[in-house]
Symmetry: C2
Subunit: 353 residues, 2 copies
């Protein structure tokens, strides 16, 4: 009898040229509105997801429970088989009462964007004190605070897109110190500094990592518009730190794709929009990357378990099978160019292949 | 009688709302070939230039005296009133004899590009030893070595577009140590590290600074394709160091625009070309920037004197007058979008205004 190893299923199926895991969670996705919403939502399931955390930066932003629930209904009308975890956009309009209302309605988190938090801030430094009553209520009710962890550029202080995340980390520390029971997720981390901050943070603090930041450095978006996103991909040593914390299976680090579709002409333009589109092949991108890093055995925990555990949600049921079979990423999905367009992935979950 | 100050002419004319200086030198310009050449060469004079150092990265590259002279003839056919200082592309095909031939023919320099120098290099490190016999002959004959001072990205060694220039500086030091009489120009410097290296280098080593690197940081090309160039603009503190060495009037730091026209659709694309187009308004861009830095009195030395002195050329005759009058940069010149398109400059040399 062969001794039963952890992840034995993956090792077994790997030999069999298939990888069978539960359906995945994407703890950070932009699914847009109107026609773009209708176009991209069906790709969530195609990419291997069963549950997604929906970003609230719509037009107008989601700042009330009612808006969040209405948005959820629209999403369910497009694909009712996905579980949509809803968030609100941190904003001075949100009251403590609204936080309680949101908690009662099953909204799972509130997202802080740099622009929002700089309202009423002093000299470009984030001032979260305005929101402390909300954080108190969120802590009480178990809502998660999701942070876009960058501060605005300030050239007098040498702050730019390259160090905006590192300069944010003191704010993260202040927040988890002041709210020791508030669960906080530092979204789409991109730097070795952020990785170190997550390691030293308490159990209440997690981080999402995108599929694309595991692959890209600054070299890949310099002139290559479809790889341009915010936070920008940084130095090779930053990417190495991201890869390392995922490869070691850190339990507070999990998949959040930040998949953000833009039409081609909004990317290939004088001023290109920030965002990389990964939803349609998300699990395949992750499998391809993790295999190349020699840690395909982390796929299940990174994409299916750690995020659910952090958010206190049941792990997904249902099964996703990837086959060890080359899949060519389409040149575009409608008018949206995906990550690694026209390139080959070593794992396939797609009828495309 | 008012005592006669240095730059009294500028101070006087500044009060009069005009700035009168000699015609300028651009010690680094790409004037392309064929139709693009015919389109952009007339803008050299329009931008206030009388003399330009012509880059040899044509197709095929200029690797012989005969090619350089033929190229010069083509340029003179478009505008005979500009003095074209010709260069060759450092390449294994160039012999010591060719260096002597070039010197006899009045060619002023040889340009080293990263890709060229990595031929026969070890593990991505530039190996200039292949070219030492050429450098010996260049030193003897007074040819200038122009360096694109970046080493190729190497992610294993954490080298990327952000630190490629800094990693190059040890090669610069080796070269000026091994060839103490060879004049060397570190082209289009972009970092505080390069500024420091120029300060500590001997009198034989100079540097060019572009108009756009005095204005841009990484924030300005992240998503803004017309500001994307190589070397990429870096941190705010790097820009501050460039501004400082120009503002203080360092005599070995002078204007080299690296003006590099590309058609709009080659910039606004999935993979955008690197290059910023400044030729048509070059002196106006520089005046606008230097005034904003409080050092308009450095215009004459930076754009008309230090470069000529370094290259051992007579200073230009002829007069350029700029007026203190708002000028709007055109949205495009034909199919080429210029630097700061549609923005206002505070100085004008243009009938456009």
């Amino acid at each position: 009898m062969i001794p039963r190893l952890p992840f034995v299923e993956e090792f077994h199926t790997f030999r069999m040229n298939t990888l069978t895991i539960p359906l995945c969670d994407d703890f950070h996705v932009h699914v847009r509105q109107d026609d773009m919403m209708k176009a991209v939502v069906p790709y969530l399931a195609a990419g291997g997801m069963s549950r997604v955390l929906v970003m609230p930066n719509t037009t107008p932003p989601i700042t009330s429970t009612a808006q969040a629930l209405a948005y959820k209904e629209e999403l369910e009308a497009v694909d009712p088989n996905i579980t949509y975890l809803m968030t609100m956009y941190l904003h001075p309009d949100i009251t403590v009462e609204e936080v309680h209302k949101a908690a009662d309605a099953g909204i799972v988190g509130i997202k802080s964007y740099p622009r929002g938090v700089t309202t009423n801030s002093d000299a470009g430094i984030e001032d979260y004190s305005l929101y402390y009553p909300l954080f108190e209520a969120m802590q009480e009710r178990g809502l998660v605070l999701e942070l876009h962890g960058e501060i605005p550029s300030d050239h007098e202080r040498d702050i730019c897109v390259l160090n905006a995340e590192e300069y944010f980390l003191s704010h993260l520390k202040q927040l988890y110190t002041d709210f020791p029971y508030l669960r906080i997720v530092l979204e789409h981390i991109t730097t070795a500094a952020a990785v170190a901050a997550i390691r030293e943070a308490p159990e209440t603090v997690g981080a999402t990592v995108t599929a694309h930041h595991l692959e890209l450095t600054v070299d890949d978006w310099a002139g290559q518009n479809h790889n341009f996103c915010k936070p920008v991909a940084k130095y090779p040593h930053d990417r190495a730190a991201l890869r390392e914390i995922v490869a070691e299976g850190h339990p507070r680090v999990f998949l959040g794709s930040d998949s953000a579709p833009h039409p081609r002409n909004a990317k290939e333009a004088a001023c290109g929009c920030a965002g990389v589109f990964t939803s349609p092949l998300l699990a395949a991108y992750v499998a391809d990357t993790l295999e190349s890093l020699g840690c395909l055995d982390r796929m299940r925990s990174f994409a299916c378990e750690f995020g659910a555990d952090f958010y206190g949600l049941p792990r997904n049921e249902g099964t996703l099978t990837l086959s060890k079979q080359t899949c060519t990423v389409p040149a575009s999905y409608g008018d949206v160019v995906p990550f690694r367009a026209s390139q080959k992935l070593s794992w396939s979950l797609c009828p495309h292949s």
